[in-house]
Symmetry: C2
Subunit: 206 residues, 2 copies
């Protein structure tokens, strides 16, 4: 009864419980239509209790999105850490990006959804841009080393990010149907992008 960590559930760590439950329900339904009341129910507290930790549902969603950006950034830097040269980092990073999205469709959508994009939270925008920064850094390094064509890095980064983002969402939406789009649109599109980034003399053979 005197242990501080014990029975941290129905008492104490409600905030974390709410967040965990929210993730759980997003995984179940594929969206963030979950209700705060249901979260309270599952957490074994009254429906008013969560309001002691989050002013409203929107701010809970914002919190989830921020966690999402952190996780995405982590996945990207991890994927890019192994290969030695920038050119070899790009593909794994791309795959890690799309993977993250398709594995967490609801979370990924939420991260870029209207509900959070207009949020007063400046953090959100900052964290989203941190993703961009990771790609930017890789490309900058790649140009220095001579892996990539010389041109405005920010343009290249914008192209990469947009392509990742687009592929991920199309994949989540199930619009990349093999019969129409090819067996592996992911790899195909990345190849096209790589050809746009690579220096002419290092471009893949026809």
């Amino acid at each position: 009864m005197t242990e501080p960590t014990a029975r941290a559930y129905h008492h104490g760590d409600l905030r974390r419980t709410v967040i965990d439950t929210a993730f759980e329900m997003m995984g179940e339904t594929g969206d963030w239509q979950f209700t705060l009341r249901e979260i309270a129910r599952r957490s074994g507290v009254s429906h008013a209790a969560p309001y002691k930790h989050f002013p409203d549902k929107a701010s809970l969603l914002a919190e989830l999105a921020m966690i999402g950006f952190d996780r995405l950034g982590q996945a990207l830097t991890e994927a890019a850490s192994a290969p030695a040269v920038p050119r070899d980092k790009l593909l794994p990073m791309s795959r890690a990006y799309v993977d993250f999205g398709t594995r967490n469709p609801a979370l990924y959508r939420l991260m870029f959804g209207a509900e959070t994009s207009g949020a007063p939270d400046v953090h959100l925008g900052e964290r989203a841009l941190a993703t961009f920064a990771i790609v930017l850094d890789l490309l900058t390094l790649g140009q220095e080393v001579g892996d990539f064509r010389s041109r405005a890095v920010r343009d290249q980064a914008a192209a990469c990010w947009a392509l990742f983002h687009g592929m991920t969402l199309l994949a989540i939406d199930g619009l990349l149907i093999p019969e129409k789009v090819g067996a592996n649109p992911l790899e195909g599109a990345l190849q096209v992008l790589l050809e746009g980034l690579s220096r002419a003399d290092t471009a893949g053979s026809d």
Copy 2:
């Protein structure tokens, strides 16, 4: 009192009125959080009336999304109709795509949102893929004429669509901040893509 077209409002064309009002409210709020009851209110009918024309809110949303895909397809073919050669068509088409999205942010998000993607309506998927088909046709033609590099057209089309989609959504979300991403990420990213599509000998100078 006997005119058939007169006072087509509170009677008669409720279905169209509901759709129009929905578009109107999407434009106002930037999302599709509008309520059916409010639509009924604005249309001057009881809150139960819209249910005679749409089984539920989801099916109204699906209808809106389908209209959106039609309009997008129209905008794309229009933009590509003027230039003579495929290579000159791609850029205008790209701009038309992003333009459509940034001008109708709520609609564009809805078209690819979870609410409509999982819809039982097969039309939706079909119409979305029609967008892909337009890009595909352009690239096919471009390869035949020799404007674009020879490689799986579907991969190129996937890359294009993903890039358009991604740029559009990033733009809508306000994530393309000039200081971070460059003055004109749109054009920059498209340039990078074009370099990936163009044949080596026609590629722009460094």
